[in-house]
């Protein structure tokens, strides 16, 4: 019998150690080609992690209680007593099992994708560091360690977006990602601090906080819940902190697949589910979360429908799907949210990896309107991406159908009809923009004239595995209405809001969703299947959407510009004119009085006689006036 606590520790520590190993070897000689070593260590690590994760989830499903594992005490000051310790309950076990599994596939894919990159070793050092940080985020048993993981995944994201650092634009994108994430973290850390001040004296693990949450006033809980969600807005790219995600596509495609689609960006949803004990107390904040989610979902879907860069379309699509997840967790359907995180990881990773394969095959072309007719040449990529597109569009029986359906039913049943309406509309749009992508790339007239680059097996095999996942993962969450028993919800055992809806109305809602999806699909077929044309900014609305509503420009104008202006103001006016001005004024006064006194002492005797006369007169006057008074 393997000690599960030790497994739990190693699943976090291992990737950090392997990352360190690769980094040291890489830095010792960056020119050396050590393809086998880097691949062995880099790809071997997630394989081992996956095995550990499956053993853990197996033990939990056998009825084991929450597994705890402590590495060491991190700090102890006053009541602030934090350990570097981990907790695998059912929620975190589900998360790590698909993160490690999909992570492994993406690592294998990356071994093919990055093969000829001179910084191959550096890439895997970062990638393994990311896996470790993600484990820390998910498995942490207290908010502080979760925050550490939360920041470290942000760092990895920064490093990997800026991976091609010779191009300054990529670094700008990386900076943008990190800075906007940090804005979110600013909220997050305030929330944690407030939480500690409120209940920290009773211990600061999630279990202890959950036990003492009743002591906190509702106003404070509302504030904490809101600030925590600010963190999620940054990490999970929701309005208004989303602008970094499309730019983050500057990183290598495996990075977009792993970090900016399947795992890191869903951390916000996980976080809300992790704090579900807090959010059930403050349904108003939940409603706010759901509204932001719905707005982001629709907003991103609209923009995605007019983009032409394949990775940017997928990025907006990710933002839109994350919106769905927040609708779910916001309305208290935590299991449904996590279920969508789970299925989304499969089909979105697949979409990105397929897109990467297309990009490589076409010599780094990313504009979908310069592609076309690829279904004959890239059969595997075409079929797998077709499956993923069906899944994300919510066509039964593919994975996305079940998870998205569960969310929309929740919205309807909890009588938030506006959110439901927005979600349903977005579902139609999703089918439209995804099939627009698919048809433009694989169906429409062939435009690429030069020969395609052949794809290695390490890039196509993971696609097939993920396609199987995208087709079948949904059955884990098959609900009663379809003859299942929502396995995943029962396993997760989260404090979901109880909702009741008749089977008849559920079938009706589902029918509507599928109908809308088919409509979107049909429209895309009509517009893009034979001849795909890029959208032109020929009307006000279109130019607004194509320019992404000028949100970046608005941020630059209202935040970046004033900050720079302020900095210049300090440099040019406040420091030299006011602070130094005051100091120099004193210096000037001192100097001037010195010069003045120097004038008096001019060496001419008649002046000195005058001084003596003046002094004697003043003194005499003083003495006389004193005498008179007496």
């Amino acid at each position: 019998m393997i000690d599960s606590a030790i497994l739990l520790q190693w699943i976090v520590v291992w990737p950090f150690l392997s990352s360190l190993l690769i980094a040291v070897v890489y830095l010792s000689n960056t020119k050396a080609k050590r393809y086998t070593f880097y691949t062995l260590v880099g790809v071997g690590t997630p394989v081992v992690m996956t095995i550990f994760a499956f053993i853990l989830i197996f033990q939990l499903s056998e009825g084991a209680q929450t597994i705890h594992g402590t590495l060491f005490k991190w700090i102890e000051i006053g009541d602030f007593n934090i350990s570097l310790s981990f907790m695998a309950d059912r929620l975190s076990a589900v998360m790590i099992s698909f993160i490690t599994f999909i992570g492994t596939l993406i690592h294998i894919y990356a071994a093919g994708y990055m093969k000829d990159d001179p910084a191959y070793g550096k890439f895997f050092a970062y990638f393994n560091l990311f896996m470790g940080s993600m484990m820390l985020l998910v498995l942490a048993d207290n908010p502080i360690m979760m925050f550490v993981g939360w920041e470290l995944v942000g760092l990895c994201s920064y490093l990997l977006i800026g991976f091609y650092h010779q191009d300054s634009a990529n670094i700008t994108a990386a900076n943008k990602a990190f800075i906007l994430n940090r804005v979110g973290d600013f909220g997050f850390i305030m929330a944690i601090s407030l939480l500690f001040v409120a209940v920290g004296s009773g211990g600061f693990t999630f279990d202890a906080i959950a036990a003492n949450i009743g002591q906190v006033s509702p106003e404070m809980l509302t504030l904490i819940g809101f600030l925590l969600f600010v963190g999620a807005m940054g990490k999970s790219a929701q309005i208004p902190l989303y602008v970094w995600l499309p730019d983050a596509m500057a990183g290598p495609t495996p990075v977009s697949a792993l970090i900016h689609a399947a795992t890191m960006v869903t951390a916000g949803v996980y976080m809300v589910a992790r704090y579900s004990f807090l959010y059930v107390e403050v349904p108003d904040v939940g409603l706010f979360i759901a509204s932001i989610g719905a707005a982001s979902a629709l907003f991103a879907a609209v923009i995605a429908s007019y983009q032409s860069d394949i990775k940017k379309i997928l990025a907006y699509s990710t933002m839109s799907q994350l919106g769905y997840m927040f609708i779910a967790v916001g309305l208290g359907a935590y299991s449904a949210g996590i279920f969508h995180v789970f299925t989304h990881a499969f089909f979105k990773a697949l979409l990105f990896m397929g897109a990467g394969a297309v990009i490589i095959a076409l010599h780094h072309e990313q504009n979908i309107f310069k592609m076309g007719g690829l279904k004959k040449h890239l059969k595997v990529v075409y079929i797998t991406m077709f499956i993923a597109t069906l899944a994300i569009s919510g066509i039964p029986p593919f994975a996305g159908f079940f998870s998205k359906d569960a969310i929309l039913v929740t919205a309807f049943a909890s009588e938030h009809y506006v959110i439901w309406g927005v979600g349903t509309l977005t579902a139609g749009l999703t089918a439209f923009y995804m099939f627009r992508l698919l048809f433009s790339v694989f169906f429409s007239k062939e435009k690429a004239s030069h020969a395609l680059v052949p794809l290695p097996a390490s890039m196509t095999l993971p696609l097939i595995v993920l396609a199987i996942g995208s087709a079948t993962a949904g059955f884990l969450g098959l609900n009663e209405a379809y003859g299942g028993n929502t396995l995943i919800n029962q396993f997760l055992a989260l404090p979901d809001t109880e909702l009741h809806i008749s089977h008849a109305s559920e079938y009706l809602l589902t029918g509507l969703n599928v109908l809308l999806a088919l409509l979107g699909m049909g429209l895309a077929y009509k517009l893009f299947a034979s001849e795909a044309k890029e959208a032109q900014p020929d009307s006000l609305f279109r130019s607004l959407v194509i320019n992404k509503f000028y949100i970046d420009e608005i941020y630059t104008f209202f935040i970046v510009k004033p900050l720079l202006l302020m900095s210049h103001l300090i440099a040019k006016v406040i420091d030299p004119k006011i602070f130094d001005g005051f100091i120099n004024l004193n210096v000037w006064t001192y100097r001037t009085s010195g010069l003045l006194f120097a004038k008096l002492q001019n060496g001419k005797v008649r002046y000195y006689a005058l001084y003596i006369l003046l002094a004697v007169s003043v003194m005499s006057y003083y003495i006389l006036s004193k005498l008179e008074m007496m």
Partner: protein
């Protein structure tokens, strides 16, 4: 030996300098001598730390009358607070001497030894006159280093730092002398020992004036916003070893002064100044950080960065609760390490490119991966990245601030954002992008790696396992704190 270990630690560098000076040692011998003196002090301090009892108060005390009829004594001792700063001084000297290996100007080496004696003495003195003596001693080598070996408008800038600092020192000297006189008034005996002077009861008005005298010296040294215009020019002109000592040690001595003498002598009076200091620190935190964004000179940029972090340290100190205090102490240590690292890296940039202007740099990452790693590591630890010690410190201060009230907490938490903007933009323009220089950029060599690795390791260890360090200071710190809170409670 144990009886006089503190004296040995203080005077060994000065003694070495004197001996070498008397025999008119050639520069090679001078280098070996100064490095050895720093290595031996490091070993002595390591031994001292090992012997240090975290539960006892002042330790290794040396007390001897010096000028008897004026009650001035030679009084040294070490507690958690001075030990922290002492450790930093001794840890930083050997890497700095390694950095200076190719420095052929003799005066440079003599000044560094004198500087070490000055700062060490200031940190270990428990007699106010003695403290004042060392406080001024450490300014002298800095004046020479900037004035003689600096660059840019170095003579003007050296004069500026000295005049502004001395303004503070004079007001402090006045307060010290007046306190001694008060002691004479009350007890009939002269004394300048800290623990004697803290016993006398001052009336509120006097105490407010005297505290102002001390505070002025310390806030100029830190510097808080408004007292800071000497900082950027001095950092910009000073040679790298001097900058490291100024940012890592001397600025911290300002905070140390408030902690040791401010709280030691005027517990309740500090409460009177607390709102002002809190506001100045919070303004400073953002003011310096915003100013740093558009600064083109790397040294000046990190001068402002240093000011921003020291404002945070001062803030934590004045908030007087266990979390903020621990955070401030921790930040004193970790910021010293990180800023020493970044200023040494900037020095290395200067050695290679002959410039520290961001607009003339770029593309380093393509040529020098090791250099890039270390530079980015130190810059990120300044921004308080988790995994480095700075994060632990900032987290503690933020929690401490929220313990006081929401708005102070809110503004303190902006430290998360403040450093980040200038650090990341600077990294982009310095390290990344296409090459814009044709010079042959050498990656770090073995000597440079050896001097930087200890700093990196220390920052990582302080970040990953703070529990190794907290037991060293926590017991005394909470005792000191509860004493003060007790007095404050009496006042309220």
């Amino acid at each position: 030996m144990t009886d006089h270990i503190l004296s040995i630690i203080i005077f060994l560098p000065l003694f070495t300098a004197l001996v070498l000076g008397i025999v008119r040692a050639e520069v090679r011998l001078l280098k070996i001598g100064s490095f050895l003196s720093s290595a031996v002090t490091l070993m002595l301090v390591a031994w001292l730390t090992f012997q240090f009892d975290p539960h006892a108060g002042m330790q290794f005390v040396e007390h001897a009358p010096w000028i008897k009829n004026m009650g001035i004594s030679y009084y040294l001792g070490v507690d958690f607070l001075s030990l922290t700063v002492l450790l930093l001084i001794t840890l930083l000297m050997p890497p700095l001497y390694l950095y200076m290996k190719h420095e052929e100007r003799k005066g440079y080496w003599y000044n560094m030894m004198l500087l070490q004696t000055g700062v060490t003495g200031a940190v270990l003195s428990l007699d106010l006159v003695l403290f004042y003596l060392f406080w001024e001693t450490m300014l002298l080598p800095i004046f020479i280093m900037i004035g003689k070996y600096g660059n840019g408008m170095h003579q003007y800038n050296a004069m500026k730092i000295v005049l502004m600092t001395i303004l503070g020192s004079m007001s402090m000297l006045f307060s010290i002398l007046y306190l001694g006189y008060m002691h004479y008034e009350v007890t009939g005996l002269w004394s300048f020992a800290l623990n004697d002077l803290s016993q006398i009861d001052l009336n509120a008005q006097t105490s407010i004036y005297l505290a102002a005298g001390f505070l002025l010296a310390f806030v100029i040294k830190i510097p808080l916003v408004g007292f800071h215009t000497w900082m950027a020019p001095a950092y910009g002109s000073a040679p790298t070893p001097a900058v490291v000592i100024m940012s890592s040690i001397m600025a911290k001595l300002g905070v140390y002064g408030i902690w040791r003498f401010g709280f030691g002598l005027f517990e309740s009076t500090l409460l009177y100044y607390a709102p002002v200091i809190v506001v100045l620190s919070l303004i400073g935190l953002l003011y310096y950080a915003i100013r740093a964004i558009t600064e083109d000179n790397l040294r000046k940029m990190f001068a402002y960065s240093s000011g921003s972090h020291l404002s945070l340290i001062a803030l934590g100190l004045i908030l007087t609760n266990i979390y903020a205090w621990s955070g401030s102490l921790y930040l004193i240590a970790t910021h010293a390490l990180a800023s020493a690292g970044i200023f040494i890296m900037i020095g290395l940039v200067y050695k290679r490119f002959k410039t520290v202007h961001i607009s003339e740099l770029g593309g380093i990452a393509s040529r020098a991966p090791k250099f890039t790693f270390f530079f980015a590591f130190f810059a990120l630890s300044i921004a308080g990245l988790p995994g480095t010690g700075g994060f632990v410190a900032e987290l503690l201060i933020i929690i401490g601030a929220f313990k006081v009230n929401f708005w102070i907490g809110f503004f303190t938490a902006t430290t998360m954002l403040a450093a980040m903007v200038y650090v990341f933009w600077m990294l982009q323009r310095t390290l990344f992008g296409p090459d814009n220089s044709s010079c042959d950029f050498q990656d770090l060599n073995a000597r440079e790696l050896i001097m930087l690795l200890p700093l990196v390791l220390m920052l990582l260890v302080t970040g990953i396992a703070p529990s190794l360090f907290t037991p060293l200071f926590e017991p005394q710190l909470s005792l000191f704190l509860s004493d003060i809170l007790h007095t404050l409670g009496g006042v309220k």
